[in-house]
Amino acid sequence: MSGMRVALMVTCINDAIYPDTGRAVVTLLRRLGVEVDFPPAQTCCAQPMVNTGYLDEAVPVVRTFVDAFAGYDAVVTPSGSCAGSARHQHSIVARRSGDAGLVTAVSELAPRVHELSEFLVDVLGVTDVGAYYPHTVTYHPTCHSLRMLGVGDRPRQLLDHVRGLTLVELPKAEECCGFGGTFAVKNADTSIAMGTDKARHVRETGAEVVVAGDNSCLTHIGGVLSRQRAGVRTVHLAEILAATE
Amino acid sequence: MSERTTARDEILGRIRAALDGVEAGYDVPPAPRIAPLADVVAHFAERVADYRAVVERCSAADLADRVAAALPGGARVVVPPGLGVEVPGATVDDGLSAAELDGYDAVVTEARVGIAETGTIVLDHGPGQGRRAITLVPDLHVCVVRADQVVADVPDALPLLDPGRPHTWISGPSATSDIELDRVEGVHGPRTLVVLLVQ
């Protein structure tokens, strides 16, 4: 990937709460020979605003996003949800702003934003990233990765090549965990009911670890599991892929 | 009539306002066809039977006997005026009332089209099929379908039908899944459907 300028979009939640996930992406990509930049002007993808209906408020955030990542050939993010936001929602916000320059900038940047597993499999063309993770793991495909981005089985391909890892099927894997951004608090009871069912399915697998490509969903699932003293850890896909012997 | 005109004009006006600036022309993508069936008639028989209808294949020469055999002894039978097969003892419908029809146990009719992929029989209520009510009120429907009437799928059937006529598409006996989504055959329409497929 010589000459390709790659930026890490760490996402606001990883920046503030899960820095280990961001560090794992840096470690992993460096191991694969990709030097990533962290443009310090980045903040958030604006999805919390867009999905709650605050489009005007999202405009300056999208502008910040576009400015921060302009000039990069690829933007990698350890979040299906944030990648989906950049690819599918920024255009809505840009149109709302009435700023033709922003519309153009968004349409140019959007296709260059990749979720981590997409970047590894499609752009770098690797499925064996040389990882070692001696644990029993179950995989939750998050909704935005699955249905908004269509990452398909890319995360599975990557996990299949991790040495020492035993992957067990999650029952009803494709059902939403109930996080849903502000849904988790606006409709807390329903969100918790969904999360409780997801946690039950995770426990049924007997896995030590539940892995996903989105820390927001894992915060929710992990929050329920922790409250239940289930003893199952939540780990981001990037951290498993970065782990070595 | 003026109120109607007002409502009509207002609704059409709202629609035109709503569609202001929307491009009218829209190319409808063609609906895909199923891959050719190896044996359309056998497929039809299989799919009809899937609905728990009784399907029997017979020759034209055997038809009258097979019709008679499908009717329970002593059954009161109604037939349309143009039925092409003899049903001894049957009443020919001449505009029986719903209450009168309720006194019949069975009806024998022909069909217009059979659809293999969905296991559907289409009636257009022509002379061999009769008014819609006669195939509805009696509890047993014996339907004669000729093999050459069977087409592969829904898009093959529609162009054969005359939209000006009423149609009844029948896929198995009457059924409901309203109780815990458990399928139960037989609610208001005929509880038993016998299809005689004539070669």
């Binding site: 470690t27 929050g223 | 609906a31 896929s171 899944s177």
Partner: protein, 483 residues
């Protein structure tokens, strides 16, 4: 008569009550799992010898093209229906439609009508309106009968009594059938077959004596003046065939252009809806057929908010809906809270967009809460046979709800998002905030509940806060190079 949805609480409140009903959740989980599996088997079957996605694209196209020149299609439909001997009426709203039906019934001097299950007549509250005129409207679909006899509300588009199990249905039949006509037989068990037979016997006398029937329509073909009703039980055929007079209330979005366009619709609908290759009965009729069926045929073309939806650039696609209910059956929110929480005859994902589109946002809190009744998981869009992008419409409607409330006193939420917009537009301000995030989370975890987080923390622990943000780590270690 059935109850009414008027005065329903906001979705989260209604959902909380529903979530507490263990029987309801059990009934729903069982029913939706069953129907999801049936649908999926058939989609797989189609993909074995055809292409489900291409079929969906064709289905969406048929409806979309009809909507884009809806005025022309309706004018054409009126012409063809009239030429076929039907009388066409136009109704701007529920009251006008109800009045038209009542007038027809009164003209024939009847005190009862039989009804085919129809979403639109529920939407306009026809039964209640007729009752006010002294006319009983008998529901003849089994599930509708269960709802009507139980003085209940529908909770699903296709199976309105999905929230009831067999034991509850038996109780309702035993207690109520006698009051509405022929009583349930003494030895009634809770076997579905036996319950269905009781409904058959109860309704047959009503079918045989009814002079006037009321229906909706699944499709209205402009080119030929044909209405189509798709059903299972035969109650539809009874209503469409035996009475002398038939009144069909048809939403203006039901129109398709040509007869041949009933394909792909008739391939998509039953597979998506009941999970069958074809539903047991589909009836088509073009006005009056001399000597066969009703000799007086009325068609009421209803707006009731549909033109509002049509004017909504993003939401317009909701008018493609063919009411198959596949989106309800896959929705994880619907599966847990059921249909009543949506406060409308249109529940589930489609209800969450259709109700605000028909009624408009910014007027009542219940309607405004519906676009938020979704985790935006996208399962609805994936199954919708006419490819309605429900998540995108939900997000757009959320923006409309927020916009409708701009200008007044801002809510705590609005202030929070305004604050966030400022912080997230400038990485330096964000970095400052983040330095507080770690200690804040650690404090929150130790202190238990802190204000604003209580709804999160009622059943979910907070994650441990990191000592250092990613941004700070990157800066301190030069992206890990100095570690």
């Amino acid at each position: 008569m059935s109850g009414t949805f008027v005065g329903m609480p906001k979705f989260p409140v209604a959902a909380r009550a529903a979530l507490g009903d263990a029987q309801l959740r059990h009934n729903l989980a069982h029913a939706t799992a069953t129907i999801r599996a049936k649908r999926q088997r058939l989609v797989d079957e189609v993909n074995a010898n055809c292409d489900w996605e291409a079929l969906r694209l064709a289905g969406a196209g048929v409806k979309e093209s009809a909507l884009r020149s809806l005025d022309e299609h309706l004018v054409r439909l009126e012409e063809t229906l009239t030429a076929n001997g039907a009388t066409v009426h136009w109704a701007r709203d529920a009251a006008e439609a109800n009045a038209i039906v009542a007038t027809v019934a009164r003209r024939h001097g009847v005190d009862e009508v039989v009804k085919v299950k129809s979403m639109v007549t529920q939407e306009i509250g026809l039964n209640e309106a007729l009752a006010a005129e002294g006319i009983a409207a008998w529901e003849t679909d089994l599930a509708e009968l269960i709802v009507q006899l139980g003085d209940d509300l529908p909770s699903h588009i296709l199976v309105p009594a999905i929230h009831r199990n067999r034991a509850e249905i038996r109780e309702i039949f035993l207690a109520e059938m006698g009051r509405a006509g022929r009583p349930a037989p003494a030895g009634l068990t809770d076997e579905p077959r036996v319950l269905a037979a009781a409904a058959r016997a109860h309704l047959r006398e009503k079918f045989l004596r009814a002079k006037v029937a009321v229906s909706g329509a699944n499709f209205a073909v402009a080119e030929t003046g044909t209405l189509v009703v798709v059903e299972s039980e035969g109650n539809g055929r009874m209503c469409l065939t035996l009475p002398e007079v038939l009144v069909s209330v048809v939403g203006i979005e039901k129109v398709v252009s040509t007869w041949d366009q009933l394909d792909p619709m008739l391939r998509l609908l039953p597979r998506s809806s009941t999970g069958e290759r074809m539903n047991p009965y589909t009836s088509t009729w073009s006005g009056v057929t001399p000597g066969d069926g009703p000799q007086e045929v009325h068609v009421v073309l209803l707006d009731n908010g549909r033109t509002n939806a049509l004017a909504d650039e993003v939401g317009r696609q909701a008018l493609r809906c063919i009411r198959c209910s596949a989106c309800l059956n896959v929705c994880p929110v619907y599966e847990r809270v059921g249909g009543h929480a949506y406060g409308s005859v249109y529940p589930g994902p489609i209800g969450a967009i259709l109700n605000p589109l028909l009624k408009g946002v910014g007027q009542d809190k219940q309607t405004d809460s519906l676009p938020y009744a979704s985790s935006l998981c996208g399962a609805c869009f994936e199954v919708c046979p006419v490819r309605i992008d429900i998540p995108s419409v939900l997000v757009d409607l959320r923006a409309q709800v927020v916009d409708a409330h701009r200008g007044g006193v801002p809510s705590a939420e609005a202030l929070a998002f305004k604050g966030a917009a400022v912080a997230l537009s400038d990485a330096r301000k964000l970095g400052l905030g983040e330095r507080l995030a770690g200690p804040g989370l650690r404090l929150a975890r130790r202190a238990g509940v802190i204000p604003g987080l209580s709804r999160w923390a009622s059943a979910r622990d907070l994650p441990p806060g990191p000592r250092e943000s990613f941004r700070a780590w990157w800066k301190r270690t030069d992206g890990g190079r100095d570690e």
